[in-house]
Symmetry: C2
Subunit: 228 residues, 2 copies
DNA sequence: ACCACTAAATGAATGTCATTCATTTAGGAT
DNA sequence: ATCCTAAATGAATGACATTCATTTAGTGGT
């Protein structure tokens, strides 16, 4: 058998980075493609499996090629986070009364980011300038608050308070079910242990949802009273 | 000059790991010491400078020695987080009415962890069994809720809601002041831009504090109404 | 006293990453 | 034609966390 001239040495998986050195005729990468691939990779492998090398592999590219389009891994995370912001449903602010709109937005926001909690530390300190779709979300929400007669000077504070609650609650969704099981220390924490048991008996739905509902309705009720 | 027999070769800094191989007469490390050193290191160098090697250096020990007492870096973070929980002020639950107690606890809790936001992802999914001091905090808080006539089945949900809000708000404290500066995109986001400006004019105190106060008072007011 | 066991150190790998750099190539502008 | 810049490759680099073999010191049992 003659050594094959065109076959790859390792026919294990297809789509290996078979591209010769130098600038290709048409660009392979751009930020949109990187974002989409990152999102898909995160969906398949989670944030643990999300490495620059793995991302490059799914794009059929050398890792270093990514750095022609983003300046760091954090940059990729910012792109992903901004894309996710566009998945948050703000449509209710144009069609429904304020209370219902806030409720729909908040649940949607929490649901989107509960699948992406590793992004929360990134979002929380990210200037809105770097995240246009996130900024668009804020615009839709503040327009809704404004239209509902919310006092101008408190709109941002109210949104920040809601958002803080949403981010914190997103973590809860991912927490293990038995996180409050006090185990062998139950005797030394009678009040807490009793409260945990009472909750298990009395509440319907997932605990994270019950808590989110409780806090959200509290904020909606009080904030609603601020409207002129 | 004879070659000195006891002087170290490199007199650059003192306290290098000059200890001969093998088990020392008295143990050098324990979890309490590791926790204290970690806390001090984090205070000095932040979470970026917090590496196992750096921690070992401050303890005058080889990095691998740490693994005789903790099983991972995450383990160290759990120890630190649990220590911080003991710094949260729950004393008001024994001396003050419910509303004031919740208020004092929540502000204290936020202030402690706003300096340690990288721990939040760790805490949020940590079983209480692994964090005895955190469990003690929950016990004090739920005892306070119980004593105040809060319905048993909702105590945990209420605490979780408050805690979620607290964690999210802890991030806000660390956010840059101009995080909401929409910059060149201001024209396309008139409502949000106006709201940001109105806030700057009208509100006193740090924005993060104003937002935290707003959300916290909303929860206290509504939750207070649940008491029997 | 002796011996086996376990605990607690050291120091030398290991392997995984993100990131950088030199090099190569393509296409557009002067 | 020539130059410049953009976009690839592939080969370092440098941090890290973590593991392993080895050494030494007490301890409990015989």
């Amino acid at each position: 058998m003659p050594a094959s001239t065109s076959a790859r040495a390792d026919p294990h998986h297809d789509a290996k980075p078979r591209r010769r050195v130098g600038r290709p005729a048409a660009a392979v990468l751009d930020q949109a493609g990187i974002t989409a691939a990152a999102l898909q990779l995160i969906g398949k492998s989670g944030y643990d499996g999300f490495t620059m090398a793995a991302l490059a592999r799914t794009l059929n590219v050398a890792p270093s090629a990514l750095y022609n389009h983003v300046s760091s891994k954090r940059d990729v995370l910012v792109l992903v986070q901004d894309h996710l912001a566009s998945l948050v449903d703000v449509s209710a602010f144009e069609a429904e009364p304020w209370e219902r709109a806030v409720r729909a937005w908040a649940w949607s926001y929490r649901d989107v980011f509960s699948q992406h909690t590793p992004l929360i530390p990134v979002i929380a300190v990210l200037p809105v300038t770097d995240a246009p779709k996130t900024l668009a979300m804020y615009e839709a929400v503040s327009a809704g608050f404004s239209r509902a007669g919310f006092p101008q000077g408190r709109i941002v504070s109210a949104i920040v308070a809601l958002e803080s609650f949403i981010f914190g609650s997103a973590y809860d969704v991912t927490a293990p079910a038995d996180i409050f099981d006090s185990g062998s220390m139950a005797e030394s924490t009678p009040n807490f242990t009793a409260a945990v048991q009472a909750q298990d008996l009395e509440s319907y739905g997932k605990p994270a949802d019950v808590a989110f509902n409780l806090g959200l309705e509290a904020m909606i009720a009080r904030f609603g009273a601020l409207r002129g």
